[in-house]
Symmetry: C2
Subunit: 99 residues, 2 copies
């Protein structure tokens, strides 16, 4: 459990997983879509997701360079769970101290 949270628990990881979804997405697209993340952090999180077998990184030896990210089969299995988490959250009652 703790480990599962570590895998998806970074500040940006769930957002990145959603953004990649079932598509192939380039580094620049991610940086643009998730426009508040710094490139340094984006690189770090993607590297961790790759090490955890969630995303697959594919680099093309072109000019200009192109790198595509996509979810692995294991990573795709996460999508419906995160969607449920989203739905659960949107149905949540207002916070106690909310204005």
């Amino acid at each position: 459990m703790t480990r599962a949270m570590g895998v998806v628990g970074g500040k940006w990881k769930p957002i990145l997983i959603f953004t990649i979804g079932a598509k192939r997405v380039r580094f620049g697209q991610l940086a643009h879509t998730v426009n508040l993340i710094s490139r340094k952090v984006l690189t770090e999180q993607l590297k961790e997701l790759e090490e955890d077998g969630i995303v697959i990184r594919e680099a093309f030896a072109e000019l200009p360079p192109r790198v595509e990210y996509r979810l692995s089969a294991h990573g795709l299995g996460l999508l419906p769970i995160l969607e449920q988490l989203c739905q659960w959250n949107s149905a949540r009652p207002p916070a106690v101290g909310a204005p």
Copy 2:
């Protein structure tokens, strides 16, 4: 999404939610079952979970004092999702750099 992760994303929150489950659990039971958490952090996390409407805190004016925690209806809705996350994690492939 970011908000949902904030709600369940603490280091101990998912574990606490699981530990409470469908029961009423006393503070000391939680501290004992999750025996690596400090009381300070336990108090903090429970307070946040309470503010987010996940757990309900009930204090009894007895000696010695007794405080029971249980999941709200909203909190109970989280259990199956966390269970799925657990199952997903236990089916995960070995890490790339694993020994």
